[in-house]
């Protein structure tokens, strides 16, 4: 049994609330009176001090007296029948408390899934991909659990695998899911296709006749991993009422809850979830990972159970970005106007559906990019295969399409002998443009302006690796391709410049009820008015908690704001996904603050209304702890208005509704809002060794309104670098013969380090969207779209190679 003594300095934010509560339980974080700053100001993170002192408790830091450790056993093959499972030796291991498999599931519901409940909690007689959970062990030391799991004997009878469109839809192809009865099966051409979304508008064949040039291309996008640094982890604590407390890192507490409770056979109110510290997400925590397993073991053993994946397991513990094959055809007149576009996008969804249907919706509806094209013929599908399951990752279907249509734009510009930026500007969509779905873009769409801004920026100096040595020729290899490996001093190095722009939707689309909930409380503590904001929003690093405090200060005129831990005791906030949280939960916090403010003013009118006519006649605001008129006259202190009364309001908030896309034509007002970013990439390529150094990756983005300018830059720069990663290094390699993952580690899956990273200058444009709170625009994903194709365009510009696949590897540049 492990024992962990009290930390010598127990962090203030992790003091257990009750006896026998786990350590690492999140508690309220208060930003005190010295903090000022409402929306539009770069206020600092409320959790910043905890994060720099190491005291911020992540889900993997949770600890409980007498806790057990859970360890998952995963399949070693991609597709097989399970002939037998023998757990006896594992169960007999000293220190092991429980071993569970499919047969031990307590309820009728044994599957989960974001949209389609096709994923068994443990493999049910069959595994469909490499790394599928088959059994779980609880033991008193993580190493004991690992060794016991290794003693479980599983006999597999291997089945044929399907790994791509050709094999998945071949006559007699093995079906990944037999007997499908989900709501997509009626409109897909084959049971190994999860979902299909065509979009037909105008007449692409007829329009093609007007084209003076036509370009086509086949593009391949590799499988990217979210690679959040905090591994999947959490702690489940059984409670006396037969329920369970679950502390976990996730992107959407209530979505998890709706999938966990039925499998445990418990009503939702007996599964009480609290968000623990989240070490990044990027889409990879939308799906269930260890949540159900930990709860099952806790309920089985009656003890708290912690599960922490290591990095190897994390690569199997979450879905990845869909790899894609994309076929595009564009035409243009000789004066540079696009005539039509046809495309077919095939996304590999892997063994389980996850978010594949929604990714298909995005890929098809955003496949045209930010361009005016009236005649289109579009089809996107996601496959079921025996590859690793794929689902949400930052950019969500729009990333793969952007990589392809931007390559097409460059090809067209080259064929027309036009400047690639001018060609894009000539065809750029604007406010009012109809998208291929027939939906008008009814807020600013400064596509041409964003391109102008990145192009106007001065280029970084040539040969910056030359430093001012005595002879003027000494070289800093750290600035060259190959870097510290000292592979070149500039020989064979050529420069290229490339541009790209992208279009991303904000929020959940296609008619989804994409609401959020906020509870706001206002009271006087020690003579000072204090606001408490309680939502179920998953703070995954994006800074939502910072923005909530800013909104409360702006709307309620307070300085001190307390952020309540996110949990399921308040209504759903929806997912921290789709660039939506500042818009939707920010909107909910604003809305609840406004309701609180109305109550405060009512109270003030009742108490003080007779003393000043302005109470009845003027527009009243809360500012600096006082009720003031819009002319600035002070009417009362909030402390006097409230006295010992607390105003506490919880409300749901919704943005404008959307509609589903027609399954045959793809028409429909499916999206809430659009987000735009443009990049210019400058690269230097060692053409002899095929090594790429990105020198600068400049971004211009319209953010509507920067609620927190410092955090806006952080989102844009972080998104830009993830886009660069999949341009030049990041890819999960799946063996096409076995469908097994070859590189599940940070040794073999390469992420950009600070040495690989260019400077990322950012130009922020703020054109308000009148439909959104404060005019803001969701920002997190757009920079991930255009970054990748800009880097590819720059490498093409440097090398003259066609490069239709990403990421680019050295052998693609040296033809070896």
């Amino acid at each position: 049994m492990t024992t962990r003594p009290e930390a010598t300095t127990r962090p203030a934010a992790t003091v257990p609330k009750a006896q026998n509560a786990p350590s690492g339980t999140p508690t309220e974080i208060t930003q005190g009176s010295p903090t000022k700053g409402g929306i539009g100001e770069s206020t600092l993170r409320p959790d910043g001090t905890l994060k720099v002192t190491g005291e911020f408790a992540y889900s993997s830091d949770m600890w409980h007296e007498d806790m057990l450790w859970g360890q998952t056993l995963r399949s070693t093959v991609a597709h097989a029948e399970i002939v037998s499972i023998d757990t006896s030796e594992a169960l007999a291991t000293s220190g092991v408390y429980a071993v569970m498999t499919y047969d031990d599931l307590p309820a009728e519901m044994k599957n989960y899934g974001l949209e389609i409940q096709d994923t068994p909690v443990f493999a049910n007689g069959k595994v469909r991909h490499h790394g599928e959970p088959v059994a779980i062990v609880a033991a008193d030391h993580p190493e004991t659990a690992r060794r016991a799991a290794a003693k479980i004997k599983i006999e597999y009878r291997e089945l044929p695998i399907v790994t791509d469109e050709a094999s998945a839809t071949a006559p007699g192809a093995v079906l990944v899911h037999e007997g499908r009865d989900d709501h997509h099966i009626g409109h897909v051409p084959h049971p190994n296709i999860v979902h299909r979304q065509p979009i037909i508008r105008g007449d692409a064949d007829e329009a093609a006749k007007r084209a003076d040039v036509i370009v086509t291309g086949e593009y391949v996008f590799g499988m990217q991993d979210q690679a959040f640094l905090g591994p999947e982890s959490g702690l489940a604590v059984p409670s006396e009422d037969g329920g369970v407390e679950l502390y976990v890192a996730t992107q959407w507490l209530h979505s998890d809850l709706g999938q966990i409770a039925p499998v445990l056979g418990l009503p939702e109110d007996k599964v009480r979830m609290t968000l623990s510290g989240v070490g990044g997400a990027f889409g990879g925590r939308e799906d269930i990972s260890m949540q159900i397993h930990a709860c099952l073991l806790a309920l089985r053993t009656g003890k708290p159970v912690k599960i922490v994946y290591n990095r190897f397991e994390s690569f199997f513990g979450h879905v990845h970005r869909h790899p894609a094959k994309l076929h595009y055809e564009h035409g243009a007149t000789k004066d540079g106007k696009l005539t039509h576009m046809k495309c077919r996008i095939v996304l590999d969804g892997g063994a389980y559906a996850s978010a594949s249907p929604a990714v298909v919706g995005n890929a098809s509806s955003l496949s045209v990019g930010p361009y005016k094209i009236e005649d289109v013929d579009i089809e996107a599908i996601a496959l079921y295969t025996n590859n690793p399951p794929c689902g949400a990752m930052r950019g969500f279907g729009a990333v793969q399409a952007c990589f392809a249509y931007e390559a097409q734009m460059d090809k067209l510009a080259a064929k027309l002998d036009m400047d690639p930026v001018e060609f894009r500007q000539l065809n750029a969509m604007e406010q009012g443009t109809l998208l291929p779905t027939g939906q008008p873009c009814d807020s600013p769409a400064p596509v041409a302006e964003l391109l102008r801004r990145v192009k106007a920026r001065p280029l970084p100096p040539e040969q910056e690796w030359l430093t001012a040595g005595a002879d003027g020729t000494s070289v800093d290899v750290r600035a060259l391709p190959g870097g510290l490996s000292n592979t070149t001093h500039g020989e064979g190095v050529v420069r290229g410049v490339g541009y790209a722009v992208g279009l991303k939707n904000v929020g959940f689309s296609e008619g989804f009820d994409d609401y959020s909930t906020a509870r706001v409380r206002m009271e006087v503590i020690n003579g000072e008015p204090v606001a408490t904001v309680h939502t179920a929003m998953a703070e995954v690093g994006q800074g939502g908690v910072t923005v909530h405090a800013q909104i409360a200060r702006t709307e309620l005129g307070v300085n001190q704001v307390t952020i309540h831990p996110a949990d399921t005791r308040v209504g759903s906030a929806g997912s921290t996904s789709a660039s939506r949280q500042t818009y939707v939960t920010g909107g909910a916090v604003k809305n609840s603050c406004e309701a609180v403010r109305e109550k405060v003013l009512e109270l003030g009118r009742t108490k003080f209304g007779t003393y000043h006519p302005a109470w009845a006649t003027a527009e009243l605001l809360l500012e600096g702890g006082k009720v003031v008129t819009d002319g600035g006259e002070v009417l009362a202190d909030l402390a006097d208005v409230l006295e010992d009364e607390a105003i506490d309001i919880e409300l749901e908030w919704r943005h404008r509704p959307t509609e589903a896309f027609d399954l045959r034509t793809g028409q429909g007002n499916g999206h809430v809002q659009y987000s735009f970013a443009a990049h210019r990439a400058v690269v230097e390529v060692d053409t002899e060794l095929g090594l790429v150094k990105v020198i600068e990756l400049a971004c211009a983005q319209d953010v509507g309104k920067a609620l927190n300018p410092l955090s806006v830059l952080g989102q844009i720069q972080g998104g830009t670098l993830q886009g660069m990663g999949v341009a030049v290094m990041e890819e999960i390699i799946v063996d096409p013969q076995t469908a097994k993952v070859r590189n599940p580690s940070f040794t073999d899956y390469l992420l950009p380090t600070i040495l690989d990273t260019p400077t990322i200058p950012v130009d922020v444009l703020e054109l308000a969207d009148e439909h959104a709170p404060y005019g803001l625009r969701g920002i997190g994903e757009a920079p991930t779209l255009s970054s990748t194709p800009a880097v590819l365009a720059a490498i093409r510009n440097a090398t003259g190679l066609e490069l239709n696949r990403t990421p680019v590897r050295p052998e693609h540049l040296t033809a070896t």
């Binding site: 600092l44 720099v52 005291e55 690679a227 070490g279 990095r311 994006q542 580690s745």
Partner: protein, 199 residues
């Protein structure tokens, strides 16, 4: 086995340590010091970086037995460590004024230097304060390791060039920030350190 070592200036003793346990496991699960993070546990990400007798190492790659009789500094002890260093060698920074970055130019990364974080006065190392002020923290999982590595850089190279910073931090992965704000934070800490040395 039993392991005796010093953690953040305090003598510690860990009992019943299994031979295969890493220093990281002992710190996190036995000492109650989970600040050092467990992102890859194979020495690739740097999130568990600690000082071992002054040298930055990945705690996940150090067997617990190897720290017998040695001194470990973790992120939890970084503020104290920096304070003792400052007491022993006041200023320490760029006394010549030839810093890579001037304080004036660094101040543009300083969002709100007097901002209270929790309403409580918490003593932080200069590099910790700079990470907050520059917006270098998002999810924060890489932060403890980066702080330990950056503090060591500034101890030995008080006025690093951008390439020096990139080289020194190249063993620390960050997935959120795109590293720009981390560069800003290190420049800011260096510039403040330089000004302190001059005044």
């Amino acid at each position: 086995m039993r392991v005796n070592f010093t953690v953040n200036g305090r003598q510690q003793e860990a009992d019943d340590v299994w031979e295969g346990e890493s220093l990281l496991y002992v710190l996190r699960e036995r000492m109650g010091l989970p600040g050092s993070k467990n992102a890859c546990e194979q020495g690739e990400c740097g999130s568990c970086t600690v000082r071992l007798d002054g040298v930055p190492v990945c705690a996940c790659l150090v067997a617990a037995g190897q720290v017998e009789g040695r001194e470990v500094v973790t992120v939890e002890g970084l503020a104290d460590y920096a304070k003792h260093r400052e007491d022993a060698h006041p200023g320490g920074g760029c006394a010549s004024g030839a810093c890579g970055t001037t304080l004036d130019s660094a101040k543009r990364w300083q969002a709100r230097p007097t901002d209270g974080q929790t309403g409580e006065a918490v003593e932080l190392a200069p590099i910790q304060q700079a990470f907050i002020d520059a917006g270098a923290v998002q999810c924060g999982f890489c932060t403890p390791g980066l702080l330990v590595a950056a503090d060591e850089l500034l101890e030995n190279t008080p006025s690093p060039s951008d390439q020096d910073i990139r080289e020194a931090l190249s063993g620390n992965l960050c997935r959120c920030t795109g590293y720009e704000k981390i560069l800003d934070a290190v420049r800011l800490a260096a510039a403040r350190q330089g000004e302190a040395a001059q005044s």
